[in-house]
């Protein structure tokens, strides 16, 4: 029994020394296997119990178990210390968090689509549908059906690209008014975004290929006040709650009464002046207003053309230039950037 105790003592001492020498988990594991493993030294000692008298065996067992428990605690403490040292080392590391980031490629939709989507979302909330249609359109849809007969001076305002005697690239999205009204009966509540073409010389304010956003509401009892209400809401949706909208009389053959629509210049907030510019706001030319486009009550001749009774139904329509809206919304200096779509432009506006 004493011999067993002294052997155990010896094992425990060498175990303690080995644990102290071990400076990583692998070394500790080796120590564990060597001493506490299935064929380890403690097992050898334990086998010696068999040589002891029966009366001493329980006592010997207890002594060995106590020793093993102590060794395991010692081992556990060593593990914990190792782990704690590793955390200390890991936590001692420090980086420059301002170092430029690593970015995965992100996608974006074009600012033109963003404006169209935001505008559509507003109108869809109010029960409007979004329709789209062809870019190459017969003159009937572009002009005749819109109360612009062939000799009408207003045709010259639409300097169009012609494909044949009767087919042209639409200079506005208004053909969608006719197509929709011919296909459906009132109520008609649509917006129609789309690409349009006019033979304009390209400069910082003009494109020959641009997008228009058309709207049409025809039903019984629709009036100009509804037009003002919806378009004021649209501008507030796109530019913010303080936005004001101004309607000025104008002339379009397919609406009567007609109005040009202006909204508060978002850059100078309608003041017409900028602290940074001695000559006034460069976005609105100092007027405090930016032009959105044309609008008005659908002309009775247009309603008759699609078989609607103008004494029963009334409605309004409008058409805005999307890139023009984009200039104001994103404070872009040159409308050509919308077509060039260079990566920096897209990244900034995404």
């Amino acid at each position: 029994m004493t011999e067993l105790a002294s052997r155990l003592d010896d094992v425990a001492q060498r175990f303690a020394a080995a644990v102290d020498r071990a400076n990583d988990e692998q070394a500790l594991e080796s120590v564990r296997v060597a001493y506490l493993g299935r064929n380890g030294e403690v097992t050898t000692v334990r086998r010696a119990i068999g040589t002891l008298p029966h009366t001493e065996r329980p006592e010997a067992g207890k002594v060995i178990n106590d020793a093993v428990a102590a060794m395991e605690r010692r081992l556990q403490a060593a593990y914990e210390q190792l782990e704690s040292r590793r955390f200390d080392a890991e936590l001692a590391a420090s980086i420059d968090v301002t170092f430029p980031s690593i970015r995965r490629p992100v996608g974006s939709i074009h600012p033109v689509r963003r404006i169209i989507d935001d505008s559509c979302a507003y109108f869809m909330r109010h029960g409007f549908a979004v329709v789209t249609g062809p870019e190459a359109e017969p003159d009937y849809y572009n002009f005749d059906a819109l109360n612009i007969p062939s000799d009408h001076p207003a045709r010259e305002g639409f300097d169009s690209f012609w494909i044949s005697d009767t087919l042209l690239l639409r200079p506005h999205t208004s053909p969608m008014q006719i197509r929709t009204m011919q296909e459906h009966r009132p109520p008609i509540a649509i917006v129609a975004p789309g690409k349009c073409f006019r033979r304009d010389a390209v400069d910082a304010r003009h494109l020959f290929q641009f997008h228009q956003f058309e709207g049409l509401l025809v039903a019984e009892g629709i009036h100009f006040g509804h037009l003002k209400g919806m378009l004021t809401g649209l501008c507030r949706e796109l530019f913010g709650e303080q936005q004001n909208v101004r309607f000025r009389p104008s002339y379009f053959p397919f609406t009567e009464p007609s109005a040009e629509v202006d909204t508060t210049c978002p850059k100078c907030k309608g003041t017409g002046s900028l602290e940074s510019s001695p000559v006034g706001c460069n976005m609105c030319g100092g007027s405090g207003w930016i032009e959105l486009g044309g609008s008005g009550m659908v002309h009775p001749n247009v309603l008759r053309e699609v078989g609607y009774d103008p004494d029963r139904y009334s409605g309004w329509a409008f058409g805005f230039g999307v890139e023009r809206l984009g200039l104001a919304r994103y404070e872009v200096d040159d409308i050509r950037r919308f077509v060039k779509s260079d990566p920096d432009f897209l990244a900034q506006l995404s």
């Binding site: 490629p105 974006s108 033109v112 989507d117 690209f161 006040g225 309607f247 009389p249 009567e256 009464p257």
Partner: protein, 773 residues
């Protein structure tokens, strides 16, 4: 149109500030593009040169004694050469402010000069539009009068935009009438009764023969005793402020009347009219006329001319001819105030590429009644210049009154959403010159004034009411839209595609639809590079990738056009893809292709809820060995692959480019996925390696595995490929992972082994595969 505010003030009382007036015009539908402010000029008064002597000490100077009224005299030395005793001129007195100049006393070669005689340029008028040297005034001017006040030189000039439906407002009186109606103040019109009374000398009555239906009215008037001379200074100044160059008294009167009343006029030298009568007719094909600008023009019968018995004298409504031009020898004229078919004048103007102030008015179809006003106004001005007037004669149809328009008071409310009483409506319309009669308590009969040809229906009148009441008074109302059946599906689909690609890391771009190549040609392109409608989005995208140096991931949706037998076919396409640095890979592998394919599969899955299938194809512009046809439910929806390196080189692409083209209309509606409960039992897998001919498609191997194992196989994916000398010529090695799982029990090792041997047999039979495990 350039509008001096001082001219407007002659006809209507206006607020002092030009900006206020401009704002009001804008609310009436006449936006002011620019307000030109005149420089400050003070201390310039009228004077008469009473005496003019040579300067005692200088050959090139003269010394004038100038009477500036009230017994005040100024001694002024001048170097000007166009001065003479008796002239009335403008004098800048000591202390006078001119643009960039303050007049101070000074001594010129020993003579103390008490001011300066001045030229038009010194009054900030276009110098080359006026006489060289000192500006000449009329002797009728009161001496000592302030020249700025006299001529309205301090007026602001408004650049007013006028819509094409309102030729009546292309005139000072027209705009004054609008302002008078809006401000509720009166309109002061000039003399509008023609002062010409006398009968013509025998044989000299101007006769007019109207042969064309496109001349509706022609007022002619013989006027004698007008020597050609400069027009009075006040008229020349007013024309110059309006942007019209003064020429001589006759031309200036016609321009002045056109600007003031809106009616263009033409004066013929009476001697040039052969046969004594004017004929309005179509030109003969090939007929020639030398116009006032000195250009010889050859006409077609589409042109409308005013001729005498022998030749064309004038392009109707457009420009006069040289043969009947008034000049220094002119003593008698025949005045024309005519009304023509606007469309005819516009076509002639377009055909001859000639536009004038007159044609800009005529082409918008003026009111016939305006002819009489124009003639009367010109006659009155010429009378003031000392002319002898004979009576005017009108030819063509009578001036008819427009038919009355029935206007229901309720319709004003119905269209505007603003409640107005019948009295308010009546007042607004009357202010614009309409005759309004109440035919029923709530129905008005409105006769538009003769000059408003644009008012034909009730809606036109409602706009007039709204303009005068003010659009800003109409309340804002949000409509409630009743349910309807119109679908937003096409837009929603495109929107979802764009959002999905955004999520996959692609940026949207917009490229030009008009390009240098395609099958549909535009008749009137802006340039050869924009002569065709695109038939593909690929060229525009390649151009974009070439222009933007760094690797890019982009997409575009848009219309393309093809010319087919049935006519023009328009189609919506999506094209997306990227440019990327080449990878170090064997020729039979292309991870960029696989990445693009993966994006395509994920996109189509997201949009349609279905899995796309790919197979080899060829496509012009794409790499012949790296292009796949994309199908969904066996329907072709597009293709994807690497851009042909030869095309890339020709397009200056620095990097390989990979693009996928999808026909948007071929995408079926989204199919909502249904959840499949996974098996409760564990799955097992085995990897098989096999050697097959290189043209065996990996996808076919996967299909064969699934077909061989049936429901036991829950997945079969080829995950590796190798080709090389160890494998053998024409062969390749594939590795596939086969997942086995049962829904009703744990799969046993025996079952798994049996399944593998089944599928290996199948692969051997179907592909002659050599199994390498």
């Amino acid at each position: 149109m350039r509008v001096p505010v001082s001219w407007l003030r002659e006809f209507v009382t206006l607020p002092p500030d030009a900006q206020t007036i401009a704002d009001r015009l804008a609310t009436l539908g006449f936006p002011v593009a620019e307000i030109e402010r005149r420089p400050t000029i003070t201390g310039v008064i009228t004077g008469r040169i009473a005496d003019l002597q040579k300067h005692p000490n200088a050959d090139r100077l003269q010394v004038a004694q100038v009477d500036v009224g009230d017994d005040a005299w100024l001694t002024i030395a001048t170097a000007a050469t166009n001065v003479a005793a008796g002239q009335t001129i403008a004098v800048a007195t000591i202390g006078a402010q001119l643009p960039g100049l303050t007049i101070a006393p000074r001594t010129m070669r020993g003579v103390a000069s008490q001011g300066m005689m001045i030229s038009a340029e010194e009054l900030a008028l276009p110098g080359d539009w006026f006489e060289d040297g000192i500006m000449q005034l009329e002797s009728s001017c009161a001496l000592g009068a302030d020249v700025v006040d006299l001529f309205g030189l301090d007026t602001a000039v408004l650049d007013v935009e006028i819509t094409t439906n309102r030729p009546d407002a292309m005139s000072i009186i027209g705009l004054a009438r609008e302002l008078a109606a809006s401000y509720g103040s009166g309109l002061r019109l000039p003399e509008i009764v023609n002062p010409g009374r006398a009968a013509e000398p025998p044989g000299e009555e101007p006769d007019v023969l109207i042969e064309s239906h496109d001349c509706y009215r022609f007022v002619s008037q013989r006027i004698d005793g007008v020597g050609v001379a400069p027009a009075p200074a006040w008229m020349r100044v007013r024309l110059a402020l309006s942007g019209q160059r003064p020429i001589n008294n006759l031309v200036d009167v016609s321009n002045y009347v056109m600007l003031e009343t809106g009616q263009p006029l033409h004066f013929y030298d009476a001697r040039a009219i052969r046969g004594g009568r004017l004929i309005v007719r179509s030109a003969h094909d090939g007929e020639q006329i030398v116009t006032l600008d000195g250009v010889t023009r050859t006409l077609s019968s589409a042109a409308l001319v005013v001729a005498d018995d022998e030749r064309a004298l004038c392009l109707a409504g457009l420009m006069g001819g040289a043969v009947s031009e008034v000049g220094p020898a002119t003593t008698a004229i025949v005045l024309e105030a005519a009304n023509f078919n606007g469309a005819r004048v516009r076509r002639m103007s377009n055909a001859l590429a000639l536009r004038t102030e007159a044609s800009a008015r005529h082409e918008k179809s003026l009111a016939p009644a305006l002819t009489d006003l124009g003639a009367a106004r010109a006659a009155a001005l010429l009378r003031d210049l000392g002319a002898t007037l004979y009576e005017p004669h009108a030819f063509g149809g009578p001036v008819t009154r427009a038919a009355a328009i029935a206007l229901k008071v309720a319709d004003v409310q119905r269209l505007l959403g603003m409640s107005l009483h019948a009295q308010q409506i009546e007042r607004h319309l009357a202010a614009l010159g309409c005759e309004v009669e109440r035919v029923e308590p709530e129905v008005l009969a409105v006769t538009p004034p003769a000059w408003r040809r644009d008012l034909t229906i009730a809606a036109d009148l409602i706009e007039e009411v709204a303009r005068i009441e003010g659009y800003e008074r109409i309340p804002l109302v949000v409509p409630s839209v009743a349910p309807h059946e119109i679908s937003s599906a096409a837009f929603a689909l495109e929107s979802r595609i764009a959002r999905a690609l955004e999520g996959l890391g692609y940026r949207e771009i917009i490229t030009q639809s008009l390009r240098g190549a395609g099958s549909v040609e535009v008749r009137n392109p802006l340039s050869d590079e924009q002569r065709f409608l695109r038939d593909s989005l690929v060229p525009g995208i390649i151009e974009y990738l070439a222009e933007n140096a760094s690797p890019a991931r982009i997409f575009e949706t848009g219309e393309v056009f093809r010319d087919e037998q049935s006519g023009l076919v328009e189609q919506s396409l999506l094209t997306f893809g990227f440019s990327a640095d080449p990878l170090d890979e064997p020729p039979w592998r292309d991870s960029h292709f696989l990445a693009l394919k993966g994006d395509c599969e994920q996109l189509l899955r997201k949009i349609t809820g279905r899995d796309a299938e790919m197979k080899r194809t060829t496509q012009s512009g794409f790499h012949p060995g790296k292009t796949a046809l994309v199908t969904l439910d066996e329907r072709e929806v597009g293709h994807l692959g690497r851009i042909d390196p030869r095309l890339a080189k020709a397009s200056d692409l620095q990097r390989p480019a990979y693009l996928c083209v999808v026909k948007i209309a071929s995408l079926r509606a989204y199919e909502t996925p249904r959840y499949r409960v996974p098996s409760k039992y564990p799955s097992t897998y085995c990897d098989v390696a096999l050697v097959v001919d290189i043209d065996v498609a990996a996808r076919d191997v996967e299909r064969a595995i699934v077909a061989a194992l049936g429901s036991l196989c829950t997945g079969a994916t080829v995950f590796d490929e190798y080709r090389g000398p160890q494998i053998g010529q024409g062969r390749k090695s594939l590795a596939a992972r086969v997942t086995l799982q049962r829904f009703d029990a744990t799969i046993t090792d025996e079952e798994a082994d049996a399944a593998v041997s089944l599928l290996l047999d199948a692969l051997r039979n179907e592909f002659g595969a050599e199994i390498r495990t």
